[in-house]
Amino acid sequence: MMKKFILRTLLFLTIPVLYAGIGELYLSNLKETTSIEEVTDIQKNSPKELYYGRQILGNSLSNYKLTMFQKKQPNIITLGQSITLQFRDFMFEPYEGEFYNTGLMVRNIVDLEYVVTKFEENELRKPKFILLGTDLSFVLKTSILDKQEFTRTPPIDRATESRSHLKGIQNLYLSAKLRRAPSNDLGFGKSGMEGRGYRRDGSYRHKPEIEKYAETKEYHDGNLINKLHSQQSPFLMPMEYESAKEDRFLLVLKRFRALDIDLLLYFPPYSDEFFNQAKQNIQFMHFWKKYISFQSKLIDLDYDVIPFTTPSNLGLTDDYMVDAEHPSEVMSAIQLYKYCKNANPMNATLDQLTFEKLEMLFNDPNTFPISFLVDSISQPIKNNLKKEIWVQ
C-alpha cells in the first residue's frame, strides 16, 4: 500500500517537477540564476565589460552593490540614488582603477547613517572621495524609500531563494517568455546578456533608451510629469520638507569630513520640459524653495556642490537627459567637468582629475547626447549614426 501510494504520488509530482524543471532550464540559460556572489567575483576579475541585469528574478540591488563595494574596496565612489548611476570610471582619471559607482546601494538617510558608521568602525573600508547624490528624497518628509533599510538589511539574493525561482518561473509561463536566450552573451541575467545593466564600475547602461534615441533622436520624459500630476512617488502630497532630516544629513556630512573623506555633493538636474511644468505646481515649488535653500546652505558651509540645473542652463537640450530625472552620462560628465574647471573646487581629489579621456570623448564624433558610446556593444549604433559632433 505504501509503495502504491509513493509511486502514485511520484507520478503526480511529475507535473510540478516538469513545470519547475523547464522553468529552471530557461532561467539558467538566461543566467538569471547566477548568484550575486558569483556575478561580483566574475565581474571584478573580468578583463572585458560584463553587465549585470536580471529581468525575471530581480536584481537585489543593495545586496549586489554592497557585495561589489566590499570586494573592490574603491577609493573613489559615488553614493546615492539612480541619479548618480551615469558617473563612470573614466570620468575620474587618473583614479579610474580605484572607482566604483555604488548608486542605489544607499537610498535614504538611514542607509547613509549606517554607511558612515561602518566607515567609522572600519567595518567598511572608507574611500578617499565620495560624490554624494543629494536628491530630494533625503529631505522629503514622506518618502516610500524610507520604509526599508537597504544597506543594514539588504534584500536576499533572489537567485538563492526558492520562492523567487517559483515566482520567476510563473512569470516566464504567464507572460509567455519561454524563449531562447539572447544571442549576445554580455553578462548575467536576461537584460545583462543583452547589454543592459550594471557595468563592472557600477554605472548603469541604458541600452533601450540609447537605441531608441539613436533611432528617433527624441527626448522622452519617462512619465515623471504624470507622476507629478497624479501625486505619485516621489511627489506624494503633501510634499513637505523635513528639517529633522536635513539636520541628520548635515551631521552625516560632518562625520564624513571628520573621516577626512573628500566630498562632492551632487544636486541632480531635471529636464527643462519637466521643470517648467513642475514650477506651475504650488506644492512642489513650496518644497523646492526650501530644497534650493538647503543647497545654498551647503555651499555656505564650504562643501563642494554641483548645483541643481536644467540642460538649458548649460546650453544644452533635454536630449542630454535619459529621462526627466536621470541625466545621461554625457550630461553627468559635463556637469562634473564644468564644476572642476570653473568652480575652483575645494577638495584635493577634484583638483587632481585630469579629464584627458573625457575631453577626447567630448570631441569624439561618435558621442551623442545620451551616451559616449564607449561600450564595445555600442559598435552597431555607431555604425548607423550620422557622423556629427554633438558636444561643443
Binding site: F5, F12, I15, S162, R163, Q170, Y173
Partner: protein, 472 residues
Amino acid sequence: MRFNSVEFLIFFAIIFLMLWGLIRHRKINKLVLLSASYLFYGWWDYRFLFLMFTSSLVDFLVGYHLPKSNHKKLLIGLSLTVNLGLLMFFKYFNFFIEATADLMNLIGLKPHYTTLSIILPVGISFYTFQTLSYSLDIYKGKIKPEKSFINFLNFVSFFPQLVAGPIERAATFLPQFRKDRVFNYDNAVQGMRLLLYGFFKKMVIADNVSLRVDIIFANPENFSSLELFFGGILFFIQLYTDFSGYTDIARGCAKLLGFDLMRNFKVPQFSTSIPEMWSKWHISLTTWFRDYFFIWLVGLNRKSTLWRIIATIILFVVIGFWHGANYTFLIFGLLNGIYFIPKILSRKNKKLRQLLARINNHSVYSKLAMLFTLILSSTTVIFFRSQNITEAGEYFRRMLSFNHGLLSQFTLEVLPLCFGFFAFEWFMKEKSHPFEISAYHPILRKVMYVGLTISILLFGYFGEDPFYYFQF
C-alpha cells in the same frame, strides 16, 4: 518554516519517509516525530523552544500529580498561572500598560511609562490552550494522566497543528500517540487531497485577495463606498480561505503521518445566523471556550436570560481579545456577542423561536438570511482587520458616506474567482470535507488534481506572506 514553502515540502517528505520507515521502532519513531516538531518550531526562533518545553513540563507534572493530590486547586492554579501568565506577558503586557496609561490620561494624570519590546512567540495562543485543556480535563476527572512524557511532548508540539491549531483535546488526540499506527492508503490519499485543496485556498485565493485587501485598508480614502463594502467582503474571504486553508494543510499532513485532527471549519460562509456561523468557524477554539469557560460562567446564574446574554457577550469579548491585544478585537468580540441576543431571547420566547425556525426552513428567506449573515460578518471583520479604532471608524465613515464610484478592475476580476470558489463549496457543503471527491469518476478526480496543481503553480502567490492566524 511555513507550510507554503519549498523548505517545508522537503522537510515533510523526509519526515514522512523516516516515520513510516521506522514504524516498527515505536520509541525511535516518537523521538523522530518530537525532534521534527521542535525543529519545525525552532526554525522561527529557537529561543522559544524553551518556553514551549516549560509549558509542557508544567502541565505534565501537574497532570501526573493531580488525581492523587490533596491540593488539586493549588495544582490547577499553577497550570493556569504558568500558561495564562506566559500568554499575558508575551501577548498582553504592553497592551495593559498602555491601557492603564490611557485611563490615567482620561482622569487627568500624566503617567510616565515604558513598554517592553516583546516578540510574540508564534503559536503561543494555541499550544498554551492545548496543554491547559489537558490539566483541566484531568482536574475534572474526564481523562487520566499520560504516563509517557514523550507522548505528552508530542501532543503539545505536533508540528502540523502547532502554530495555528486546530486546538486538539487530550481525550481524542493523546491516545493517537499511544497506539500503533498502520499506514492506510485511503487516509493518505485523503491527506493529499486536503493538502492540495489547502494550498489552493491559501496561495491562489487568500494571498491574491490579500493583495487587494491590503491596498484598500491602507488607503480607504482612495476608494468608493462600494469598493470599501467589497473590501470587507474580500477580507472575510481572505480570512476564511487563509485560515481554513492552513487547517486543511495541517489536517492533510497529520493524515499522511497517520493522525487525525478535528475539523475546524464547516463552510461557515453559508450560515443563516451569526450563532450558526460561530458553530462552524474555528470550531476548536469556540468549543474550547464553551467547555472551559462559558459553561462555568453561565452556570453562575443558569436561569437568568439577562445573565446568559451578559455571559455570551463576555465570552465573545474574551474570544476577541484572544486574537490580539487591541481594542479593535474587543469591539469585534463585543459585536459578535450582541449578535447572539435574538437567539438567546428565543430560548424563552416561543414566537421568536418560531420566527427564526421559519426563516431557517424557508427556501428563499434562508438564502436571504445567509446573505445578510455574510454581509454582517464582513462588516464586523473590518474591526478585526483595522490597526486601531480610529482607522476602523474612518473606514466605516467613508463606506457609509455613499460616495459614488464603481468597483476597480482588480476587484471585478477577483470577485468571479471568489464566487466560483463559494459555488464549489456550496455543492460540497454536505460532505465531510469540501474536497471530498472519492465518489467522483477517477478521470474527473485526476483532472481536478491536475487543475488545482496547475492553478497553484501558475496563479499562486509566492511572495512573503505568512498565514494570517500565525500572528495570534
